[in-house]
């Protein structure tokens, strides 16, 4: 009797063990691209509300035209690249994913992406803005399509400027009459003098992953981060000018003290809640700001010094090297980067196109179209050498060092010389030059 009970118990435990094991297997997930049939593509992206609607429309259109199925998987931005890294590591990556130009360099240099050389003719390549095609290429090989771009401009709260005695009818509107650094400093000084202590003249969007936007100031000063071989060039008079000017933002209390490169307070929030009168913000945030802002606001070009410059925002679409059906994946990328698809996507999301045919006023923007010419004009200040630096495979690692060093310079009293020397060393280490 006792033996029978024990046997039953043993059997029961064996069943529990088996079930537990089955459960474990369940945690592993599955359904990688390898299982997909030939006419199915998996596409992972993050998206704002307007971007998701635009992606869904275009995916439906592609499915109708090609007869293929596209499984669109929209994930939160915070999880996007942690997931993609893990999926690439386990051979379970989607066929297509969306990636910013900085991260694209990391993946392409590690041979994780599909080489698109044979899928795009010279004529098709020439249809893209050269700088943007450069942004998706590594060692001359294209690894994605530049789907859209995005640049920062200076948003201003017209009520707060008027309250400080600034004539808002004479604000600059084009690159030709953009404020110089000195004029911008004068405006900031005037605003500071008229504002209570808890409000600030402006805020720059270089927090967290946006730290590379500091390079806009370096480029405006006529400087550069590194040359084409990855040799650092930041320790220069231009680098010192950019660092000294941007450090003065904190010294003069022109920007909120919490808005440092490692800060967690973002420029668009501070502008929207009227803690600052001006903010450097990308056009992709215009729909959100249009919804939240309860005051009159407009967009101005970024200030310029030796030249105009802005950051290279925006994203590419890439196919993974192990895509189940590379031909279909390339066909989807070609469709998404076609003139019609790009025009409707950019128009719906206030983002900028990467096809030369859509430059100027070819795209009809859905929200605040009156502001978009400033962003379109600002995009013309991006130069090929800026793009080459901003899409270097080492840029992600350099960005981390920049974040630490700029923070030390801005609020911890680290000297200009030490900061530039440290950045110089960090660039050398990252590029191996």
């Amino acid at each position: 009797m006792a033996t029978t009970a024990r046997s039953t118990l043993t059997l029961g435990m064996a069943v529990i063990t088996a079930l537990t094991l089955t459960g474990c297997a369940g945690f592993g997930g599955g359904g990688g691209s390898g299982d997909a049939d030939d006419d199915t593509l998996t596409f992972t992206t993050w998206a704002s509300e307007s971007e998701q609607a635009a992606f869904e429309d275009l995916v439906a259109q592609f499915e109708q035209e090609s007869g293929a199925t596209v499984e669109l998987n929209v994930v939160p931005y915070e999880q996007m690249f942690t997931n993609i890294d893990a999926q690439l590591g386990s051979g379970d990556a989607p066929d297509i994913f969306r990636v910013d130009y900085g991260n694209l360099g990391v993946y392409s240099s590690q041979e994780q992406l599909l080489d698109l050389s044979s899928y795009f003719s010279d004529e098709e390549v020439d249809a893209f803005t050269p700088a943007m095609w450069e942004a998706v290429s590594f060692d001359g090989v294209p690894y994605g399509v530049p789907h859209q771009t995005d640049v920062s401009a200076l948003l201003v709260n017209l009520d707060m400027l008027a309250a400080a005695g600034i004539d808002t009818s004479t604000l600059p509107t084009t690159q030709d009459d953009a404020w110089t650094w000195d004029e911008f400093a004068e405006v900031a000084t005037q605003l500071r003098a008229s504002m209570p202590a808890e409000q600030y003249p402006f805020v720059v969007n270089w927090q967290q992953g946006g730290v590379l936007r500091w390079l806009s100031w370096l480029f405006q000063a006529g400087g550069s981060l590194m040359d084409e071989d990855g040799t650092p060039q930041i320790d220069s008079p231009e680098g010192a000018a950019a660092l000294d000017f941007t450090r003065s933002f904190y010294d003069q209390q022109w920007v909120p003290p919490a808005s440092t490169p490692t800060g967690t307070v973002y420029a668009d929030s501070l502008f929207s809640e009227q803690t600052t009168a001006m903010a450097f913000v990308g056009s992709f945030l215009v729909p959100d700001l249009d919804y939240f802002n309860e005051f009159e606001w407009t967009a101005l070009p970024m200030p310029r010094d030796e030249r105009g410059a802005t950051d290279l925002g925006g994203n590419a679409l890439v196919a993974t090297a192990d895509a189940a059906d590379p031909d279909l994946a390339a066909e989807f990328l070609r469709f998404m980067a076609s003139e019609d698809a790009m025009s409707s996507f950019c128009g719906a999301t206030n983002e900028l196109p990467t096809l030369t045919a859509l430059e100027g006023d070819a795209v009809e923007f859905a929200i605040r179209p009156d502001l978009m010419p400033v962003f379109v004009d600002q995009a013309t200040t991006i130069e090929p050498q800026d793009v080459a630096q901003l899409t270097s495979p080492a840029i992600a690692e350099i960005g981390v060092a920049m974040s630490t060093e700029l923070e030390a310079a801005f609020v911890q009293g680290q000297s200009t010389e030490d900061t530039l020397a440290n950045l110089d060393a960090a660039i050398s280490e990252a590029t191996g030059s």
């Binding site: 808890e198 490692t262 967690t264 307070v265």
Partner: protein, 314 residues
Amino acid sequence: MTTAAVRDGRRGGTPPARPRAGARRARRREGLVGWAFLAPNLVLMIGFLFVPIVVAVQLSLQETRGFGDPEWVGLENYRTMVEDPDFWRSLANTVLFTAVTVPIELAAGLGLAVLLNSALPARGLLRTLLVLPMVVSGVASAMIAVILFYESNGLVNKVLEAVGLSRVAWQSEGAPAMLSVILVAIWLRLGFNMVIYLAGLQSIEPELYEAARIDGASKWQQLRLITVPLLGPSTFFLLIMNVIASFQVFDVIFVMTGGGPSGATSVLVTYAYRNGFQIREQGYGAALGIVILLITLVFTFVQWRTSRTRDLAG
């Protein structure tokens, strides 16, 4: 006696072979049942604890982004760590965070438990309110804390201003930022400490207090000489749990300050996450994870060996 003699003795001995074999079978069966009981937990522990630890050790000896070809670098990541000032700063911040939060959590948890163990109006409601933060997700609580401590127009600064005090730079100065995460961490864990102490208090015989009162012991003497010593096992358990939780604090700091400003609230786990997932130095991130594991193990081992009340714990 030689081996051969033993063998011979067995062969010619009186004890029957069958019962011996039966006993062996029974023992084996008993052993199997024991293993069967252990199996589900063992499987889970092997799958989700031991294998990941072994993989993490392996990863910590490599330079890898998590994809592509890893490079074997031996102990290089650990050497880098020794020379990395950010690692030492994060370790110092972790020790500071632990040294401040753990005693306060224990003392306040005990105080609240004693208070709520007495005949208090709305005792159940108060207990529930104190335990509530424990059942809310850490990230959600930290999001609420962000709104409270938001520097430019957060509730805390507005209240401070309303009562005539100056605003505090919760997000732009190191010391206030650390204070804000410590306050939130204590708020989140207080309920857990209180519940464990409450359970401990209810197992203390009331006769002990009665005898002490008859002997003329004051309330303070009763607390110091009866309550605190008899709650030794609970204190031991909470000490270990609180120290481990403080050494592994992540969600509150990640959401509230991201380790800033200027690394002032960077602790070991946020630093490991930053390296492993933000900078994609997964080898270095894994090495940091192994160091956190070793520190926690050493602390637990030392506590285990030195605690007089450990055998009563659990």
